[in-house]
């Protein structure tokens, strides 16, 4: 497939969005959202009903231009008469109501026929709630087979494919080549191993700049750090799922060794001193304002850094490797997905539209309009128009695509990972305490969310 699929955590993750949601919004969406939805109240068994096919999508926020792409694509689809039973209507969703509006609609069993989700567990949660229908019955294997297994795996559960990867969004480290050169480092050879990484950050610190710019007040950094460093002792996705199935304890170097690495960076003063005072994007701004040499971000934002700061200034690198598992070297990528809703009476028609989105010219149009790359074997590297995208394509060659955040339940991050890492920044923070917090978070989740625990036990990883 494309040599450049990206994984990712959305810059505005679902959690960010949900934090913005609220009870009044729920009420608003119950009206406003529903008014935009399909009028079908789908009798079970009829999956080819006539009428308007409604697609709720998202993506403008992290891939500007997505709305324009969807508008044009849907117009082409409708005018081409591909679906004789009715037209498609696309409805762009807001970040803060993407999930709340859908769940309100799902409860009423009156909503979109096709629904967008952020990938991994963020989509599977709605599968487990019964809001999503499996794709296998409607989308031919020939279409699914074009999609990389790494991408499909994120929403493959209980022997079925539930989400069709729509576009990838990768994460990486942006670095300032000029600062590297000033610190005596080779700007064209950024560090790839942990030792090289620590040496480079130390040299950058000596040169008088902030080595790594980050913000952790809004709690999202923890999810990025564990996804960069927390799976490097894993040999496969099953290792990521095992603690949540209750098979193993989240202890030992295999699971919590990454905390030691983060602590090392903190103890050596390689982050900005106000990490806990700044939000994630404020930490990233330290890079853009020329105060920090490295920061973490999503691929489209790194492209925008480069456009703002110059191609000779901004480079991109993957997170350094410290572990010895098969996932020690991986490409940090993930996919956003489209699904067919369980209450739709037009699933066959919805599937036809999803297939259409994976046509070559449509995938290329999406990339040209928004920079979003479709995870599809037919996506061509020759279509790329940014050196960052090209470089990311080179970096991912031969590497498994994986993003830990898409495999663990979110409460683990909020109640375990985030406080565990935040306390490392405190005067008496310790790895042992962090480990306790993460174990406690998993126990809490297992106690409170038994349905999800059952789902994890049924989760067979797509080989």
């Amino acid at each position: 497939m494309n040599e450049l699929s990206h994984p990712a955590t959305s810059p505005l993750s679902r959690r960010t969005a949900l934090k913005l949601g609220s009870v009044p919004l729920l009420a608003l969406m119950a009206q406003g959202g529903l008014s935009a939805c399909s009028s079908s109240s789908a009798p079970a068994g009829d999956q080819n009903a006539a009428g308007e096919l409604v697609v709720w999508y998202w993506g403008e926020q992290e891939a500007p231009g997505m709305k324009s792409f969807m508008d044009k694509t849907v117009a082409s689809y409708n005018s081409a008469g591909i679906d004789p039973k009715g037209s498609v209507r696309q409805v762009l969703q807001e970040s803060d109501t993407l999930y709340t509006a859908f769940r309100t609609a799902a409860k009423a069993k009156q909503g979109p026929d096709v629904q967008f989700f952020w990938g991994g567990t963020q989509a599977l949660e709605d599968v487990w709630m019964g809001n999503v229908a499996p794709l296998d019955e409607y989308i031919p294997a020939s279409v699914l087979d074009k999609i990389p297994v790494d991408s499909r795996r994120e929403t493959y559960w209980n022997g079925k494919q539930w989400g069709l990867p729509f576009y990838e969004i990768n994460t990486a480290f942006a670095y300032n080549k000029k600062m590297f050169a000033k610190a005596g480092l080779d700007p064209e050879k950024p560090p790839t191993t942990w030792d090289e990484f620590v040496s480079a950050l130390t040299a950058l610190k000596k040169s008088g700049v902030i080595p790594f710019g980050a913000g952790f007040k809004d709690a999202y950094l923890g999810g990025w750090l564990i996804s960069y460093f927390g799976a490097q002792q894993f040999d496969g996705v099953d290792d990521a799922l095992a603690p949540f199935r209750g098979d193993v304890q989240y202890t030992g170097d295999k699971y919590t060794g990454w905390l030691d690495r983060v602590k090392e960076l903190i103890d050596k003063g390689l982050f900005n001193d106000d990490v806990l005072s700044l939000d994630l994007y404020q930490g990233q701004q330290l890079f853009q304002s020329g105060r920090a040499a490295i920061t973490n971000s999503v691929q489209p934002q790194i492209v925008s850094f480069q456009r703002a700061m110059g191609e000779d200034t901004v480079g991109v690198m993957l997170s350094p490797s410290w572990g010895s598992g098969k996932l020690a070297k991986f490409f940090p990528g993930a996919c956003q997905v489209l699904t067919l809703t369980s209450f739709s009476a037009k699933r066959k028609r919805g599937a036809t539209f999803l297939e259409y989105l994976h046509k070559d010219d449509v995938m290329r149009a999406m990339y040209d309009a928004s920079g979003a790359m479709a995870p599809d074997a037919n996506f061509q590297a020759s279509w790329l128009n940014s050196s960052i995208d090209t470089r990311m394509g080179e970096l991912r060659k031969g590497l498994p695509s994986f993003w830990f955040q898409y495999y663990y339940p979110f409460p683990f991050e909020r109640d375990g990972v985030t406080p565990a890492v935040q306390q490392l920044f405190q005067p008496h923070g310790s790895v042992a305490e962090g480990q306790k917090m993460m174990v406690a978070a998993i126990k809490k989740w297992q106690r409170e969310q038994k349905a999800q625990v059952d789902a994890y036990k049924k989760w067979e990883v797509l080989a």
Binding site: K19, V23, M129, P419, D454, A455
Partner: protein, 317 residues
């Protein structure tokens, strides 16, 4: 009962002449049900607006979701909540915020008493004291986030003043973050107390103050012996309201300023509810925490009512 005229109140309230034998019986039936008919509309509205949600929340709290949309009935949500250290930590933080109430009340009384004296510029000072209260909490939260930052305005000011030794990462340190929030709540809510007390003082008999002044009572004695006793009811109201606010009205401050961090040091019960409901989609669990909050508020109101009865008994008829 009897009125001064000697007629029964029933006679007095008779709205129609006695014209037929069946009329008294009809009147009697109407008389008994009339009060209920009059309050019925209000009762129905209250039942819909308050009763239904409360019953619904309790009902939800007793259901536990299972896979693929199924639910089971039980008290599992309550056992989960009570076993959760985060819940206890959040409750403790709410209790910490309770300590803002006596400080705020004392300051509000003093400020109100000072402003009541009609000092020069008192109208301007009233405006200044009340101003923070009318600013939206998210705005206050964002502004103070910048103030409390490690490299924020406060620390910059301290550095400029040669006090760099006491600069601190106020919101970034788990030991000080909740108190930074505490201060912001005090700063913003104080104005409401001042205005409330000033309004009560406005209806105070000026003669009482003047008499105390003639008796050469100083400012503090007048405050203690004249002003405070007359403010007692208002203070009681303000304290009760503020306590309930500290329990169920501080979400905005925490959400905007800290998000519950760092290291969960500023979690409050409302944040637990919000996260359960809107991040984890655990509405039933959120309902259980809501019921606990409701019970704590009920305890506060019960204690307040008991104290009031006791005070009334002490004061006599």
């Amino acid at each position: 009962m009897r009125t001064r005229s000697g007629k029964s109140s029933r006679d007095v309230s008779r709205p129609y002449p006695r014209t037929g034998r069946r009329r008294p019986r009809a009147r009697s039936l109407l008389g008994r049900s009339a009060p209920y008919l009059f309050i019925a509309p209000t009762g129905i509205v209250i039942a819909i607006v308050f009763g239904y949600p409360m019953v619904s929340v309790v009902w939800d709290s007793l259901h536990v979701p299972a896979l693929m949309g199924e639910t089971s009935f039980g008290i599992d949500n309550y056992t989960s909540v009570l076993a959760d250290p985060l819940f206890r930590s959040a409750l403790l933080n709410n209790l910490r915020l309770f300590t803002v109430v006596p400080v705020m009340t004392a300051l509000a009384v003093v400020f109100a008493a000072v402003l009541y004296e009609k000092i020069v510029g008192s109208r301007f000072y009233r405006f200044v004291v009340f101003l923070p209260y009318v600013i939206a909490v998210p705005v206050v939260g964002i502004v103070f986030s910048y103030v409390w930052q490690k490299n924020g305005l406060l620390n910059q000011g301290l550095n400029e003043a040669g006090l760099s030794g006491i600069t601190h990462d106020w919101l970034g340190d788990g030991r000080t973050a909740i108190w930074a929030v505490w201060f912001v709540i005090l700063w913003q809510q104080l104005g409401f107390g001042v205005v409330l007390f000033l309004a009560r003082l406005g209806s105070l008999d000026v003669g009482l103050i003047e008499a105390a002044q003639l008796d050469r009572a100083g400012w503090w004695r007048r405050l203690w012996h004249v002003v405070l006793p007359h403010l007692a009811g208002t203070i009681e109201f303000f304290v009760t309201l503020s306590l309930i606010n500290m329990l169920s009205w501080v979400f905005n401050y925490v959400y905007v300023m800290t998000g519950g961090g760092p290291v969960r040091s500023t979690y409050v019960l409302e944040l637990v509810i919000f996260n359960s409901a809107f991040q984890d989609n655990q509405m039933n669990l959120a309902a259980a925490v809501s019921v606990v909050v409701l019970l704590v508020a009920a305890v506060i109101l019960t204690v307040q009512a008991a104290l009031r009865r006791r005070v009334e008994r002490m004061e006599g008829p």
